[in-house]
Symmetry: C2
Amino acid sequence: MALTAEQTEGILQQVRAAKAASRTLAGVDTGRRNEALRAIADALWQRRGEILAANAGDVAAAQAAGEAPSRVDRLLLNERRLEQMMVSLEQLVALPDPVGTVDERWTRPNGLRIERVRVPFGVIAIIYESRPNVTVDAAALALKTGNAVVLRGGREALGSNAALVAAMRAGLMGAGLPEDAVQLVEVTDRDSVDVLIRAKGLVDLAIPRGGAGLIARVVENALVPVIETGVGNCHVYVDRAADLEMAEQIVVNAKVQRPSVCNAAETLLVHRDVAQAFLPRVARALAAKGVELRACPAALAILRQAGIGDTVRVVPAEAADWDTEYLDLILAVRVVDGLEEAIAHIERHGTRHSEAIVTADEAAAARFLAQVDAAAVYHNASTRFTDGFEFGFGAEMGISTQKLHARGPMGLPELTTYKYVVRGTGQVRS
Amino acid sequence: MALTAEQTEGILQQVRAAKAASRTLAGVDTGRRNEALRAIADALWQRRGEILAANAGDVAAAQAAGEAPSRVDRLLLNERRLEQMMVSLEQLVALPDPVGTVDERWTRPNGLRIERVRVPFGVIAIIYESRPNVTVDAAALALKTGNAVVLRGGREALGSNAALVAAMRAGLMGAGLPEDAVQLVEVTDRDSVDVLIRAKGLVDLAIPRGGAGLIARVVENALVPVIETGVGNCHVYVDRAADLEMAEQIVVNAKVQRPSVCNAAETLLVHRDVAQAFLPRVARALAAKGVELRACPAALAILRQAGIGDTVRVVPAEAADWDTEYLDLILAVRVVDGLEEAIAHIERHGTRHSEAIVTADEAAAARFLAQVDAAAVYHNASTRFTDGFEFGFGAEMGISTQKLHARGPMGLPELTTYKYVVRGTGQVRS
């Protein structure tokens, strides 16, 4: 359904209001922005009654619509989750602010003094699905770095998001900053996304956070710069020289510790020389966690021979399995002839997110780390560490799977751009 | 005219070949890539006969088609211009290579050692118009930083580009590197651009270099990440507290030193308090260089009163003038009530490229530098300095007018991305 002209204009008005607010926000110092984050935390707590009531409405509607429990849970807010938001806001206040940092400064032979200074983007549009915690997280990260934010969340969370945004706007007002720095697009028709991502000159950056379909749609239609996030078809390669005990722990962790996230492993690659020794043991360990295996013929033969098929669900892999981000307790398994074939498989099927090798062979590790093209490459560690908090950034806006601007976990510096400030004494170019 | 399936497949084959070559290129050290640049310089010189003959064909065709002399001149190669290319290549060899640089390294409490390492993008597509010098410049910058390059130049320069690329490929081969690292798309139908900018997963970055129409088309249709370059509607604001002698020199330089480029000034903004004193003198100085003025009513009145209209071409500005990148000896002139109005005018009409204030008032300068949103902001200097060489980068791929990844002049570091290399001893996430 196309938007009415009035709806489109309404969204553009919100973006323009955000743009105007972004100028004020960029002009105040860190202290003022931190005060606003604290005021937002207070306002969220003061308004918890309204917020939880609105959320209860969303949750009831989702249950009535027969949504899966996992989806309903993602939607759910309660006092504990609100408290977690407040803790996050307080942690964010404590983080250093990149805005105003001088990356470099130098003087040219003609006397021109040049500085490269970190500045906010301006207006960041966040397009996401039905998790109301993203509403507060994303807005807070944007505000901390001097950006205004336009939020376009999913329809199922609209009531919750409206209540959260009302509280955040009240917090901004209370701190003497423009409430228009946080905008919620309440038109949840798909076309409202297009209005945002085509608002060239107004929206400085769009970040889609969600499933592959949402991200593809944004990339396809955007005129404004986009950072792609999240799709992760990640691999663990167990080399001939792997410590098999370590390999087992890493594979199990990468698959089961939180299967629904982008840095979970989706395919296990095993060197032929250790397949016989490794596959049965890892299959049993994975089975204990309820993981289904989709195995290549060689892996299947080894597993069947070891009698694994009787206790673990093992099925033959189909071609599509190598390209599937299951986000579930399913693992594709393939036996490879060696490092070369493992790297080629990842090159062909990976999504440039997180890739791991387990080996005691330093030369093999060095080759894997150098040749595999991904945001994060691991030697003897789980892919699950690709995360702003695990990297020590103290914050995370998402995990970029593109190469432009930001790659991997995006912390606060990645939410800024820079400008060159040049000071002269009348220099002209000859 | 749509491409045939065969033409589309041919271009994709070239991109795939470039992708394969990019892996080799990324794996060799700086020394090998520098050798290749030297071999390319040698090959260009050895094949100067073929190159100049091919170029003579392009030039003759352009003249026969009645192209303007300035366009024909841009197309022209001769021994001197080839020598300049060789000098540029030698300078590029001397520049530090960002690839492999560790931006940061740290160890997490759990013992994970994390490094952020500079790596090439992979395949860069350059889409440009009819300047054959871009062919060698752009390819050399890409190769220096370990990237393969797919060049899509204009139809008018096709013969020259083919000869230049043949020489560069011979140089690569001579240096023992894959010739496929430099590709020329010889299908100059517009749709061939679309094949490149939609080759997601193969082309890692597209850089359009050319006029506003080309850039808009690329941004509109791209699925791969794009860096927008070049459109510059730049302003010089002469403040109440300006040294008028300095202001005159800066305005004249920003307008006339090379009017056809993106960092030339297109609009002069003058504080009302100094308009009477400044406008007649700057108008005379500009007149001496053949500049036509398009003036707002207040400026027009002052200039007419001073009798300037008799000797200088002065016409009333129309609304469109404030948004026009003339790239010619034309300057729009507007009297403003002060700094605030100057900043608002730039916000509304500027293209976020290069903006200058001339003033002795440090507070006014600080406000302008902080509030004007542009890649480069200047105090008491000409906008013409926004240039990789003038900034001291020693190289330039173009001038970015977007905020994502690179802003302003792009040197070698801006042609790289990074990856996180994480080394562990069996760490898993709990």
